[in-house]
Symmetry: C2
Subunit: 343 residues, 2 copies
Amino acid sequence: MAKRVSISDIAESLGVSKALVSLVVNDKADAHGISAETQRRVREKIRELNYQPDLFARSFRVGKTNTIGLIVSDISNRFYARIARDIEDHAWSNGYSVIICSTDENVEKEMKQIKLLRDRKIDGLIISSSQDNSDFFNKLEEAGFPHVLIDRRFDDMQSANVSVDNYGGARMAAEHLLKQGFSSFAVVALSPDHISTIRERIKGFTDTLGKANVQIPPRWLISLPFDRIDEVLENRFQSLYHRGQLPGAIFTLNNNLTSSCLKYLTKLSVKIPEEVAVIGFDDIMYFEHTRPTVSAISQPTDRISEEAFTLLLKQIKKEKTDKRQHSVVLPVDIIIRESSIKH
Amino acid sequence: MAKRVSISDIAESLGVSKALVSLVVNDKADAHGISAETQRRVREKIRELNYQPDLFARSFRVGKTNTIGLIVSDISNRFYARIARDIEDHAWSNGYSVIICSTDENVEKEMKQIKLLRDRKIDGLIISSSQDNSDFFNKLEEAGFPHVLIDRRFDDMQSANVSVDNYGGARMAAEHLLKQGFSSFAVVALSPDHISTIRERIKGFTDTLGKANVQIPPRWLISLPFDRIDEVLENRFQSLYHRGQLPGAIFTLNNNLTSSCLKYLTKLSVKIPEEVAVIGFDDIMYFEHTRPTVSAISQPTDRISEEAFTLLLKQIKKEKTDKRQHSVVLPVDIIIRESSIKH
DNA sequence: AAATGATGTTAAATCGATTTAGGTAGTCTA
DNA sequence: TAGACTACCTAAATCGATTTAACATCATTT
């Protein structure tokens, strides 16, 4: 394995200083009055020896790695997979690489990952956090570390953040179901109940039902632990089914939960939407093709990624930003398909 | 933003050398006969000043970054998303981070990404390559750079690699369709036709049909450009449909293609499987819930990830490996659902 | 002829660690 | 008491770049 050519090799073989070579490489030669002829010779030698600057060494020196971190609960979830892809694209076209971490909704793991990423000297972080308050990120903000929270938010939050109108989306879902004439409702949620998206979606839904004087009884507020969604949901559905206590309509709080509901209702031969209607938060392509096709609140993943990356880049480049543009809330759409149409 | 505590700060405040502190930090103190008392003082000071070694500087010095690269055509494709997640898990539990890149089947982009990742001094690379020959990777192998090819393979390949039995899977699909009594067949493939998975799947399918004296006419060999799958497929289906030339059964070569077929056949109100049957390579969870449910050849993504990471780690750790264990081919399963059952 | 200015270049510090070949002081042996 | 040995510790090189202050030359001005 031939040793790599370093800046010293160029300098020595040309009888000039490393400084000069560095200046040429970084296009600062003119500004430092290096003669055109010398620059030519350096460039020629660089080509001749196939010198490629060691980005790692440079990063070490200048303290910038051109790498950002992306932390989400699970990169294989379609919602986050799409966001990851979009962010990767934006990163790539701006010369950044992205390190991806999945937390499994585990706060401790998330903390370790953030620590590791900072040790690795990433330039910035985009994160959908599982934490239950903003303390940590407020500290990060104070420390001036570039970061953008996506998807989930906190109440007294200083950090830049991009989220969607969860409350509004849930309200649309509720209004739609009410208009269809359903009268009993269940919510299938995720169990760390401090997560803002979950809270807001539940609130949007129940508030709207409340206005129509509809309450959701506790047995229909189903909250599933992240790592045992399937198992627990199947049990709950079974027991509700056998007691004849299935609701008229179910609002599921993310695409995984929607899929699981589909799966276990189907397994019980419960007809959707005739016996139980379903509408979910977060739309994915497959809901167009399932049996029945599934109604969902669709989130603009591409815009989330774009806004988040833009906000992050501004912080990294230390551009002055208006704190009011710091917090972006994007609109959602309701996509009505068969699963929520009253028979 | 308070400056970080460095090893010199510890050394100075204690009146010892940086070397000593480093030895203590790296648990090499005993081996170097540093007295227990001194070690205690160092550790105490480290705690007191909350010193955290700069991993980046360390990486620079020792030439290991504890970072690996993962390059695939599209991280938002469910197949790769799952693999990414699994690899990330293995990496995390072994102290590695992973940088993810999507190539969009663009060889030039792939080359640039590899170059960038190597510049960033990743310790190893797992890649599903879009290249059309093994030259580049053979060079990489010669250079001793740790890497594992996944999913796609090359003929005269030196590099470690993990793939599945594409030929066998395609044969199963063909045999199944023949047994169902279908007599005319189309293949929906991806257009860079040098990709091994595509080639092997086509060959496995056509070979098997050939043995039953069935040929596929050119109009039913549909090859779609990666970036315009939907657009082109819709056109092809429309023209076939209007000329009454739809085949009895379609074999689609990956989960995206399967989804697209579903979409555009449905759009034309073509009944699956009554008018056209469908079976796809690569199973995803949703195929259990689509209308109709979709038959597919299922790949063991978890084992692909596991084998790939294991092989990579061995190379990174420079463990002697038997070249015969260098090339892993995993078995696939056929999952028969409604879409391929003859009416 | 001295001062000033312009032009082109470099020495050396620096980033924060790791590593290796020694050095010192005290004790023990012959 | 010289030499060897032990126990502890350190100086300095190194990884590969960037950056800044300063230094030669030589030409021009006063």
